[in-house]
Amino acid sequence: MQHIIIGAGPAGVVAAETLRKADPEANITIIGDEPEPPYSRMAIPYYLINNIEESGSYLRDPKTHYSDQNIELVQQTVDKVDVTAKQVTLADGSSRSYDMLLIATGSRPISPPIPGLDLPQVSSCWTLADARAIIERAQSGSNVVLIGAGFIGCIILEALVRRGVNLSVVEMGNRMVPRMLDENAGGLLKRWCVDKGIDVHTSCSVDAISAADNDQVDVSLSDGSKLSAALVISATGVKPNTELLDGTGIEIDQGIKVNRRMQTSNADVYAAGDVAQGIDFSTGNYEVQAIQPTATDHGRIAALNMAGQGSEHQGTLNMNVLDTLGLVSCSFGLWMGVDGGEQAELYNADEFQYINLQFEGDHLIGASSVGKTQHIGVLRGLIESKVHLGDWKARLMKDPTLTMDAYIACTQELGYS
């Protein structure tokens, strides 16, 4: 059995490891197009602040792990996938046959239609190569403009501030991280950042970027501001790298459509991670989530099925956690609530504390919080286990901090043994 995995990120690597466990005899090949060993984009912000060396971003020890597991790593760009011949063609002209194929090609930053975005002072922050370019230009004391205060933007934001730059952030939404946090939470984040000396522009977009003297650029904003910057970072979202499957007849929507087994519309081709549009746990709809936990869950489920061990998942839960200069925020599932649902809220703006729980019947279906670091994973547990909260719903409506207590009381035997 020959398994080929295209893409060397978390989804691809976890899939390869799961395949190896499930099928000790199989041939497993990961094909990735970046020059570094398999690494994690999640770690890049920590590389930017010298918290880790570049090698600290590697998913596994490249010297031993893949050879120990007998996983072949190929550094090549895949030019073409032929699902009829069951072959992939590489940029060097060679081709390889597969029995089962996994597309784990991830996503890439989108380029908003802003004049001047192609100037050398403008960078995205997605690859290790991008990170090196940012380190070069984001020197202490220099002016930096960050376009986009979404999840990725906010993670980089922290790293940039720690590098000592003068930072301006431009976000089209009316608050920070609008797709992860509600108005209260996003508002707290903005105030926190402004208090720390960051120039935050919300409900605002970049009209144009133009070259100026001394290797600087001028950035014009829709609110009339003009900023001068040594570096502009564009973090306005990502889109799935689906192009490899164009023309194969495999169903592609926003991402590659996959069923509960992570199988595409072609039985021998699977997809996982940012490129895959799989079932969302909360809505039951096909959605691209582009988050690390989903990537690794996808990789694992895909691999089990590729190895013939039928495994279906009930959908992945959308969730995020963010540390913005020491203020930790997170959200899970349907954090914006549903029609006919109920919510419990604790909002202490002065202390930057916020908890919001969303219920449907006596189930928790979504949650978000700011300023809370203890036991936040239990929000996932409460949502995914669909546990009936019973009396505990009323207690949580009164005091939404009691989520861990509710989980223990609803799932453990508390009585005398």
């Binding site: 670091t373 996932r380 989980y407």
Partner: protein, 159 residues
């Protein structure tokens, strides 16, 4: 034989010796707020429930870690954080559906129960045997299954 923590909330008096012992073992101070095991108090029910990582086989935390900072201690089966590798991204803290991996502001890393390398101090400190460290087979398969079927996230079913 591999051992595991067996927690019997019915025997817990809420004395918090386990939290004291755990925080001392891991931070060098008697500071329950930094303990990796927590005793939850249920006033209405008149019960106390110590709770910590069960070192589950699924190891959501380990799989979600982007930098390979969580590994399995082969001797104890514990999922252990490497402080050298942990960057403090907190993805494991949302991935663990039991809420037992937590971020420590004090260290900038995540922390969780590591079974103290095979000599769990919470169990040693517990005066009522509410927390014991016993052969994994003895922690009661039926009890575990009953609790798991209620508490495990339904992330996956095998067809």
């Amino acid at each position: 034989m591999q051992k595991s923590l067996n927690i019997d909330p019915g025997k817990c008096t809420g004395c918090l010796q386990c939290e004291m012992a755990c925080s001392y073992e891991h931070t060098g101070t008697f500071n329950p707020s930094r303990s990796y095991i927590k005793v939850f108090t249920f006033h209405y029910e008149g019960r106390f429930a110590p709770y910590t990582c069960t070192q589950c086989d699924e190891a959501w935390c380990q799989r979600a870690c982007p930098v390979d900072a969580i590994s399995v201690d082969m001797m104890t089966g514990a999922k252990v954080i490497s402080d050298d590798k942990c960057v403090g991204c907190k993805v494991c803290t949302i991935a663990c559906p039991f809420g037992t991996v937590n971020y420590s502001q004090a260290t900038g890393k995540v922390v969780k129960c590591d079974l103290c390398g095979g000599d769990p101090q919470c169990a040693a400190a517990c005066p009522t045997d509410a927390i014991t460290y016993v052969d994994a087979d003895w922690t009661g398969y039926d009890k575990m299954m009953a609790s798991a079927s209620k508490s495990l996230p339904s992330a996956e079913v095998t067809a």
